[in-house]
């Protein structure tokens, strides 16, 4: 169709920026997990090791959705799936 290549690249860049809004959710989620882990250590300092490893595991899993956003952004920026043919 009649779209200019540069217009497509510009829109891809905007889309990549919008995709990274996905980073907000994991940020909030990881913060909540870290906060609860901190209060758990405050209540039971003896279980610090277990709490830390559980927290890190949960945070790494929660991070996945943010990483999907990152992947979409990288695809838009560098693989350029919407090139005009």
């Amino acid at each position: 169709m009649g779209f200019d290549q540069n217009f497509i690249y510009g829109c891809s860049a905007i889309g990549a920026g919008l995709a990274l809004i996905a980073g907000v959710g994991p940020g909030v989620g990881q913060g909540i997990a870290a906060g609860h882990a901190a209060s758990a250590v405050g209540r039971n300092p003896g279980a610090k090791g277990d709490i830390t490893s559980t927290m890190l595991l949960g945070q790494a899993v929660a991070e996945t959705t943010g990483l999907y956003g990152l992947l979409v952004a990288m695809l838009l920026m560098f693989v350029k799936p919407f090139q005009a043919v």
Partner: protein, 243 residues
């Protein structure tokens, strides 16, 4: 342009963190490429092989009171065994070797970014087979321990028309496992190449701190997470209603 001096955009291109072909050859009309991923994989495997050869030699003449290298090897094996034992309980025996192997392999792959290599795990062609291996183990153990009736019952819970959703949930496991590892390592690689590419004028010494975070901390955490999730899924598949 002031920014242009600091951010030397001219030197930078997206190629600096992409997988690059080193040389190509033809087999039956197909062009095959040996890429940076292959070379880094071979380097990692060689390092691990040499390490394990030395470990075997030091264990052959093992002393009652360990010293030096033997001490180090025993510590590592103890650590991995403890990790598997505490997660898998009575199923630990069968999976000690497998989990230990993929743990060391993924860890060394992630750490290879420290040497300026492109980590092999930043290539989806490496992490996806790892995810598929986990999926195969899960499915095999499910059929072996819960039998066909148990698997069908699991698919139909809570209601029979839930089958498609349960199937999607099963097939999402290897994809999310491999994408998580891939995206984490790739994001570190992209960050480091942005720092070295765009800030090359002032990139002295301080990127070391970023290497500690992206390569060592993030790499180790993702290795741990991959192995923990693999163990949890397999233990789940092996656990029947009778226990």
């Amino acid at each position: 342009m002031g920014v242009g001096m600091l951010l030397s955009l001219d030197d930078f291109s997206a190629d600096s963190f992409m997988v690059k072909g080193v040389f190509s050859f033809e087999i039956g009309g197909q062009t095959l490429w040996i890429t940076t991923t292959h070379i880094c994989l071979i380097l990692v495997v060689l390092t691990l092989s040499i390490f394990s050869m030395f470990a075997k030699r030091s264990m052959l003449k093992a002393a009652e009171v360990p010293t030096g290298f033997q001490n180090f090897v025993e510590m590592g094996v103890d650590l991995l065994d403890g990790l598997v034992k505490s997660t898998m309980g009575k199923h630990a025996g069968a999976f000690r070797n497998y989990i230990g192997t993929i743990f060391i392999f993924i860890l060394f792959s992630n750490l290879s970014g420290l040497l300026g290599l492109r980590p092999p795990t930043a290539d989806y062609g490496v992490t996806f087979p790892l995810g598929v291996l986990t999926f195969t183990l899960i499915t095999f153990n499910k059929f072996k321990y819960q039998h066909v009736s148990g698997v069908i019952k699991g698919l139909m819970s809570p209601w029979p028309f839930w089958i498609p959703i349960n199937l999607i949930g099963d097939f999402a496991v290897p994809i999310s496992l491999s994408l998580r590892l891939f995206a984490n390592v790739l994001s570190g690689t992209v960050m480091m190449s942005l720092v070295y590419g765009l800030l090359s004028m002032i990139a002295y010494a301080w990127p070391g701190a970023l290497h500690v975070y992206f390569d060592m901390f993030s790499g180790a955490i993702q290795t741990y997470v991959f192995c923990m999730l693999t163990m949890t899924y397999i233990t789940d598949a092996r656990t029947t209603d009778e226990g």
